[in-house]
């Protein structure tokens, strides 16, 4: 009855939550809207040129890249998640958390290391040539710096997103549903494909969409590999052709891709629902895999871990040792401090915002609120540089307006209040990574049945009190996950940091970039390794918290 009454008043006039959430979402969407605003600026004949020459490459390569990463992350993420959740084999306990480690590895860093290792001039091919006396052209070796290479690199570091969400989904599945399929004549494999997989689909798609958005936003890897995608196209149009409007329009087109993805998923679901009809969760009795099956499972899990983490981390460590003496000075530790401080601040802020947006949406799930929340999360698919431009332009405009007004009114110059400050940088991080926190918080809220809200409200609690006394304690796991995900993402973030940071303020990622851009991979290794190590602790915490949450799951 209480909720019914609330719905009625809400229809009469938008409540404070609707207004607040919409306003907040609008502010967060500002950079994206600025970029979209460029659609109205005529870009001249640049489009004719692009269409005649490179646009097709951008589209085709971007599509191949997305397709490849989809396949790669699905096989890697879903396959390992299924084995870890449902089977028992040697090393399972270790893999359960270790499979998340590649998450700590920025895509551009893994690209650098594999290029160093596997390129024609690298140690592997040189050794082969040395052993067999081959020369150039005498043998075939897979080319790292190619479209397939980019697919592999991105898949190796992005599959943990799918793994993370798919594993949670498998652990939450009612075993009865799987048992039914068995009694209806389906073996374990067919059961996996016809029941378990479709039921985990929303979670898998959520993980996949995170991975694909990261793929679309990636610049470092594709640029280094010479793969012309939308993102490199944006930069080329902006830098090379000097046409900001056309570059922004390309970025808007990129957003169109993302919209299309989301739309397709929604359409394909139609009427079907995926939440479990069952309330009963039996303790999982993992299917033991012995003999060659156990070894195969072990090998399957070892593969992404080895190539996504162990090999590149080992290479970085080897390089770092070569130059350790010269780089580990006080300035280096200052970089570590900056990186950690920024990442921690951004993670806390992102969590707060995600909580406000997610909760506002739960309280008043009107179309306006839902749209606003979706728009606020769009930044995730936009390359960091584009976001940064979307931050620079409105902030500079605002600062100059305030300054002009203050001069005119009080004869006092305020200068730039926001531009070139850490506040601007943090804002860009929020725009870029809010989606990560939002998705986690939303799925956590989704698990709390509305009856709990209603009974708490019926017991006299205000909406705020329901959040504090009922939801927050139940959400602890999700909030923690959101916090850690954003932390790791910010730690790795490069382009927006590069453009927006204030004077005399560097981070580890900036350091890696500057040295790597100068093609000094060994010198860049200590900072790269520091990013990986700093990201490691949260990733391990994350993994443990998820394993624990299985036991504390609200039924």
């Amino acid at each position: 009855m209480l909720t019914l009454a609330a719905t009625e008043t809400q229809r009469a006039r938008p409540g404070p939550w609707t207004l607040g959430v919409t306003a907040l979402a609008l502010v967060l969407a500002l950079p994206v809207l600025v970029v979209l605003g460029f659609l109205l600026v005529p870009a001249g004949e640049v489009w004719d040129h692009l269409a005649a020459t490179v646009l097709q490459d951008y589209v085709v390569n971007s599509l191949w890249l997305m397709l490849g990463v989809t396949v790669g992350t699905l096989i890697g993420g879903v396959g390992t998640a299924w084995l870890i959740s449902m089977c028992r084999f040697p090393g399972r306990g270790l893999f359960e958390w270790a499979l998340l480690l590649p998450m700590a590895m920025p895509a551009y860093i893994i690209a650098y290391t594999y290029t160093g290792l596997l390129d024609f001039a690298g140690p592997v091919q040189s050794a082969l040539r040395g052993w067999f006396g081959w020369g150039f052209g005498d043998y075939w070796f897979p080319e790292v710096r190619s479209l397939p290479g980019a697919v592999v690199m991105l898949s190796l570091v992005l599959y943990p997103y799918v793994y993370l969400l798919a594993r949670a989904a498998f652990l939450g599945q009612s075993l009865c549903v799987l048992d039914v399929s068995r009694t209806l004549g389906n073996g374990p494999w067919r059961t996996f494909f016809t029941v378990a997989l479709p039921l985990a689909r929303p979670a898998i798609v959520a993980g996949l969409s995170l991975a694909l958005m990261e793929t679309l936003a990636d610049y470092g890897t594709v640029q280094y590999f010479g793969v012309a995608t939308f993102t490199t196209g944006i930069f080329r149009t902006w830098y090379g052709l000097g046409n900001t409007a056309a570059a922004a329009q390309l970025a808007a087109l990129l957003l169109g891709f993302v919209f299309l993805l989301i739309l397709l998923e929604r359409l394909s679901r139609r009427q079907a629902r995926y939440h479990q009809t069952s309330q009963r969760h039996q303790a999982i009795r993992r299917h033991p895999l012995t003999g060659w099956r156990g070894l195969a499972a072990l090998g399957f899990c070892l593969l992404p871990l080895t190539f996504g983490f162990l090999v590149p981390a080992g290479q970085l460590a080897a390089w770092a040792l070569e130059v350790a003496g010269a780089t580990l000075d006080e300035a280096f530790w200052r970089l570590v401090g900056h990186s950690l401080g920024l990442a921690a601040t951004a993670a806390v802020l992102a969590l707060l915002l995600a909580l406000i947006l997610g909760y506002g949406q739960r309280l008043q799930p009107t179309r306006a609120v839902r749209t606003a929340v979706r728009v606020a999360g769009l930044g995730y698919a936009v390359p960091g540089t584009v976001i940064a431009v979307g931050v620079i332009i409105p902030f500079g405009w605002l600062d100059n307006r305030v300054d002009a007004w203050m001069r005119a009114t009080f004869d006092l110059s305020t200068g730039l209040l926001l531009s070139g400050t850490l506040a601007a940088l943090l804002f860009a991080y929020l725009v870029r990574f809010l989606a990560v926190a939002l998705q986690t918080v939303e799925s956590g809220l989704g698990k709390i049945r509305p009856a709990m809200d209603e009974s708490a409200r019926a017991l006299g609690l205000s909406p705020g009190a329901v959040l504090g006394r009922v939801h927050l304690p139940m959400l602890r796991g999700s909030l923690f996950t959101a916090l850690l995900l954003v932390f790791v993402d910010v730690l790795k973030e490069l382009p927006a940091t590069l453009i927006l940071r204030p004077f005399n303020f560097n981070t580890l990622a900036v350091r890696v970039y500057e040295l790597a851009a100068d093609e000094r991979l060994a010198d860049a290794a200590p900072a790269a390794l520091a990013i990986v190590l700093a990201g490691l602790a949260p990733v391990i915490l994350l993994s443990r918290s998820i394993t624990r949450s299985r036991h504390a799951q609200p039924n």
Partner: protein
Amino acid sequence: MPVARHHLIAAGLLALTALPLPLLAAEVNLYSARSEELIKPLLDRFSQETGIKVNLVTGKEDALLQRLQSEGLNSPADLLITTDVGRLHRAKEAGVTQAVTSARLESAIPPAYRDPTGHWFGLTLRARPIMYVAGKVKPEELSTYEDLAAPKWRGRICIRSSDNVYNQSLVASLIAADGAEATEAWAKGLVANLARPPKGGDRDQILAAAAGQCDLAIANTYYLAGMLNAPEANQREAAARMKVFWPNQEGRGVHVNVSGAALTQGAKNKAEAIQLLEYLSGDQAQTWYAETNGEYPIRPGVPISATLAAWGEFKADGINLTRLGELNGEAVRLMDRAGWK
């Protein structure tokens, strides 16, 4: 780790109170596309000598330019430093720079390497010659950039992507010399001669050539210098196998670009900024560039490192670099049409 925690807290506090602080002592603010590694030591030395504090943000030139444009007259930046003349030109066109008159700068920097109206000044030269694998190519076989499109080089050349600004300015220089039509035909010929699709940076081209994948590599000289002095053995060995050939010596000379600087339109520390500019064009700084990063001094007569001296003297293209900036966009389109990835 008390140090780390201290910085964590400091960064958090900064985030909350991140407002520009009032300027107390003499200082100068720099937006630099030169990486920190390749400018900070000079700036520190400048501060020591003059007592002027230098604040630095590094980044990609276009991003810095965008930031400068959005911040307008209120921008805290006094100087913009770029690694390419095209961007200096673009900054001038965008109206974010102002003219400087300084006798010292004008005498230190040859006219070809500075803006005729004083909006920007070149600080170092970056030559982009042809490098060849000793033993596989005889220097007599090489002559000009134009010759690289000849069929005899089929499958023998390594060069990086056309995304790269040095390739863009090289092509711009060819357009200036030979005209757009001839240059497009040349670019097509060059693409046909590539040993592999363009990828990686300049060092990668040198590594690939040394490893046998191609015979010629087009790269800026300071990358080769950096490799010769690199911590990794394989880089040193690869670089040792390469020789530098200065093309077009009979004609206009080898293509050079500059790294340079411009005074911003709203500069608040104008005197200090000019003082820094003059310092960077002085002998001490010029020698440092050559020693540390293998770049050539902006004017002849400054002592250079043994590495650079070993490659010999060369004649540089005398075109006023402003022209290259103007032709940059056209160069990109031309390379797009030629299928240069």
